[in-house]
């Protein structure tokens, strides 16, 4: 039970960071960015390539996050901005297309060879020994949990306590009014995508030591991350983290009943999603009232 809980918290932290990436873009542009998984995957491969080139884990870590930051801004500016005035579904479908495109290109670059995971020389992935017992919590897991919590805190401080955050919120809620008040709305949207993509890259790098890297290795984490974001309310960074942790725990507990087969895990996710949507359709942490048609 303890080990399942610890496992759940670690994988929950990763779902949480994917959920954070989705929430950031949803808050800024009311778009669900399905390409987030693909961008996180590329970030993980970049980290792997940097390590292969002989650099340390930290250099690879920073390179992957830096790539995420720049790629997010470029994608917003080049692909999303032109369809901004179109119905939101246009942009959502665009991100879907982008996901497929990114995965194909990644397949051409990194597709060959035997499947690998991202090495983590700096942190051991062996469980800690507590009181003579090995528990399912490694130094790397602690790093994952710490990094995701720190990201959440930094995002909250950015949005709640800085002028840039105030501008970003205004640009997201009332772009026209924000413009009249002198806010450079376009720049704020690019910044929002850059930050979201950075958080997505973080998710990719954090999950990469545990999964075999392939062009579609982020697909399943993306689906779980999306479920976590919806459970949390799509609008709230705190909700994204809470949703991610809840999902991590549920999958871990349900996955513990190996006798019943691995498909039970996915069912657990869906049951949690349905229960939350029935009890609180707006999600657990959203301040927004649900719309009824």
């Amino acid at each position: 039970m303890l080990n399942e809980t610890l496992n759940g918290i670690t994988s929950g932290a990763i779902y949480a960071s994917i959920a954070l990436a989705l929430v950031l873009i949803w808050r800024g542009t009311r778009i669900v960015n399905f390409a987030a998984g693909g961008m996180a995957m590329v970030s993980a491969f970049i980290a792997l390539s940097v390590i292969d080139a002989g650099a340390s884990y930290w250099v690879a870590f920073v390179a992957a996050l830096g790539f995420g930051l720049v790629a997010g801004a470029v994608i917003e500016r080049v692909l999303i901005r032109p369809v901004e005035s179109k119905p939101p579904l246009t942009a959502v479908i665009l991100t879907f297309g982008l996901l497929i495109l990114i995965e194909s290109i990644a397949g051409m670059i990194w597709g060959g060879g035997s499947p690998r995971t991202l090495p983590t020389a700096t942190f051991s992935i062996k469980g800690l020994n507590i009181g003579g017992q090995t528990v399912a919590l490694s130094p790397f897991d602690l790093f994952v949990i710490g990094a995701v919590l720190l990201t959440m805190v930094l995002l909250i401080v950015l949005f709640r306590a800085t002028n840039v955050g105030l501008r970003m919120r205004a640009a997201a809620f009332e772009p026209e009014t924000a413009r009249l008040l002198g806010v450079r709305v376009g720049r704020m949207l690019s910044l929002g995508w850059a930050l979201a993509s950075l958080v997505g890259a973080l998710a990719g790098v954090l999950v990469a030591p545990k999964l075999f890297l392939s062009p579609n290795f982020m697909d399943a984490p993306l689906v779980y991350g999306f479920a976590a974001a919806v459970i949390g309310g799509l609008d709230s960074p705190v909700g994204a983290v809470a949703g991610g942790l809840a999902l991590g725990l549920v999958t871990s507990y349900v996955g513990g009943w190996q006798a019943l087969g691995p498909s039970l895990e996915v069912m657990g996710v869906l049951v949690l999603l349905i229960v939350v949507l029935m009890v609180r359709p707006e999600g657990l942490f959203s301040g927004i009232k649900p719309r009824r048609v």
Partner: protein
């Protein structure tokens, strides 16, 4: 002096503004009057670039506002308060106000301006941490005007500030505009469907009818012209 010249705006085949020209002298209030659909809101939205006009210029202080991106209009001293009390409902009152001055680099003066606005609207002070959607209609309008004042504007463009407000509140807002024009040398362009209210404080009036200027004159003379009031403004 704010000078609008030959401003023409169309929505598809429909011409909403046809060669609109008028001037607003510094330190005075000019009312833009007209019935529903006369083009009053389109006029303001065209002036700040929220709608792109087909032709015309809007000059203030040697700059054609239409050549600027919307974000830069307020940087040239022209603040636009759109129709419908455009407060950002999700933000607090304090955040709404701070947002209005954020583009100005002088941090100390931003803080001073915030104090001045709270002094002007004591109702807002007590609720500075409350979300803006909790405000009444009148308070929201005051917040929208206060937020525009945070930019230390020289020109204020107001779109129907009296819409849906109780007469007592309307009177309060109009008096405030009158006082600001006098004390701060503010230039005001006041779009109103409520002609009597607007004329009570305006120096000049511009009457729009189907997108055209049919009259630009002294406010008192427009108020006294019973035929005109009846024909164009429905009084």
């Amino acid at each position: 002096m704010l000078t609008v010249e030959g401003l023409t705006t169309s929505y598809g085949a429909i011409e909403a503004l046809r060669a609109v020209s008028f001037t607003v002298p510094d330190g005075s209030i000019t009312a833009v009057l007209g019935a529903n659909g006369a083009g009053k809101t389109t006029l303001l939205r065209s002036m700040t670039g929220l709608v792109k006009p087909r032709a015309g210029t809007v000059r203030y202080d040697g700059t054609d506002l239409l050549k600027l991106p919307v974000e830069d209009v307020v940087r040239h001293g022209v603040a636009h308060v759109p129709e419908g009390r455009s407060v950002v409902k999700e933000l607090t009152i304090d955040e709404n106000l701070r947002l209005g001055g954020l583009f100005r680099p002088d941090r100390a003066d931003r803080r001073r301006a915030l104090g001045e606005v709270y002094e002007l609207f004591p109702q807002l002070t007590q609720r500075r941490r409350a979300a803006a959607f909790t405000l009444s209609g009148g308070e929201s309008q005051m917040l929208a005007i206060g937020r525009a004042l945070m930019s230390r504007p020289r020109v204020l463009l107001l779109d129907e500030p009296s819409l849906g407000l109780a007469p007592l509140v309307v009177g309060q807002i109009m008096r405030l505009l009158r006082d600001l024009t006098r004390s701060e040398q503010l230039t005001v362009l006041l779009v109103e469907q409520n002609a009597r209210t607007a004329l009570s404080i305006a120096d000049q009036a511009v009457v729009l009818y189907l997108g055209q200027v049919v009259l630009a004159d002294d406010a008192r003379r427009v108020a006294d012209d019973a035929d005109l009031m009846h024909h164009y403004l429905g009084f």
